[in-house]
Symmetry: C2
Subunit: 188 residues, 2 copies
DNA sequence: TCACTAACGCAAATTATTTGCTTTTATGCA
DNA sequence: TGCATAAAAGCAAATAATTTGCGTTAGTGA
């Protein structure tokens, strides 16, 4: 993205960004992805194409930016039962969202961009979410996997399968989690 | 890719494909990726741009095709020591190649393409390679992880880290392998 | 060798991207 | 509040990429 992060004199950036993002989301939801072009996005967002080109560079960067923004809006994890139960529910939902058509496409958009900043953001955000569970487990004295274990052995396999098209069967997520849980106390 | 797989009357496809692939590889090796365009590739391969457009559709598909072809040229695994030792050596090399600049870019090219056929191929090929080790271990009665375990807990974490930019430190690969090795006999 | 047809080349038409210049507008300061 | 400032947006011309229709070429099978 070519422009500065925080608004300065003359910055109408926030308004324009919102309009463009919205326009992209609408178009991705309603039409074939191959027909989503910058001139069309611009027209629907009531801006000029050159504004988009100067700000985002190309379509891939823009799509990556929109996708990353969406991922960050996923809800905070719920607090229903034990940290393990809540983790299981959260990961299950995470896997479903990522494996869905739009989720998959978001992942690909993020990875396709030349700038890897959004990919990093994506991983950072996931780690943050998992950190919430870990902190809660620690507070309760509940045995729990480390962040690295969760990233390497729960999140990674899920994402790999989604990206490389070997979709996980049902019951896959609980199996992964059971595998990284520290031994000592049984079941949920 | 728009054309048929096996040559039919009128097909000069093999020659053209070789020239185009070569041209792409040369360009990726020598110039900035942003300057790699279809008209330029066509010129260096001595074909018309429309030939490339009709055959591959767009630049992303072409890059994905070239990347997938490269991945398949990785050498057969060596037979030096035990299946575990050889697996370790192979995975270490696999991780290095994928984490390198070109390897990373190949992965992204493959995932960026609208058509996921190349992504599937990529996974299939990795599984095939791992299958070689498994078969050898089985023949020798050496305890060994299953294919699923290797994909989920060795390959997936490596690829995830490469794609999402949290690069593995040295000693990472042996740790992953140790983790999936069946218990019962120690070390290598 | 010949007929057949998939794949290629060519060029015109369309569409996307880049760029120089002008205009707008949020901000900080007087 | 109003003015000076500069970042971001608009506009339009120039350039570059993509699509497409149609004629040509060259493997293949009979």
């Amino acid at each position: 993205m070519g422009y500065r992060e925080n608004p300065r004199p003359g910055g109408r950036s926030a308004r324009v960004q919102a309009a463009v993002h919205q326009s992209v989301r609408n178009m991705l939801a309603t039409m074939d992805r191959a027909d989503v072009t910058i001139p069309l996005i611009a027209q629907r967002a009531n801006v000029t194409p050159s504004t988009i080109y100067r700000r985002w560079g190309d379509l891939q960067e823009l799509l990556a930016d929109v996708a990353a923004a969406r991922l960050q809006q996923e809800g905070e994890p719920a607090t229903i039962g034990s940290a393990r139960q809540d983790l299981e529910a959260w990961v299950e939902q995470y896997a479903d969202e990522m494996a869905s058509g739009v989720g998959r496409q978001m992942l690909r958009d993020i990875l396709a961009a030349a700038d890897s900043a959004n990919a990093e953001k994506c991983g950072t955000y996931t780690r943050y979410q998992l950190g919430v569970f870990i902190a809660r487990a620690e507070k309760c004295g509940e045995p729990f996997p480390t962040l690295e274990e969760l990233m390497d052995h729960v999140i990674s396999p899920i994402i790999y399968r989604i990206l490389f098209d070997c979709l996980p069967e049902t019951g896959y997520v609980p199996g992964l989690i059971a595998k990284v849980m520290p031994k000592g106390l049984p079941g949920a």
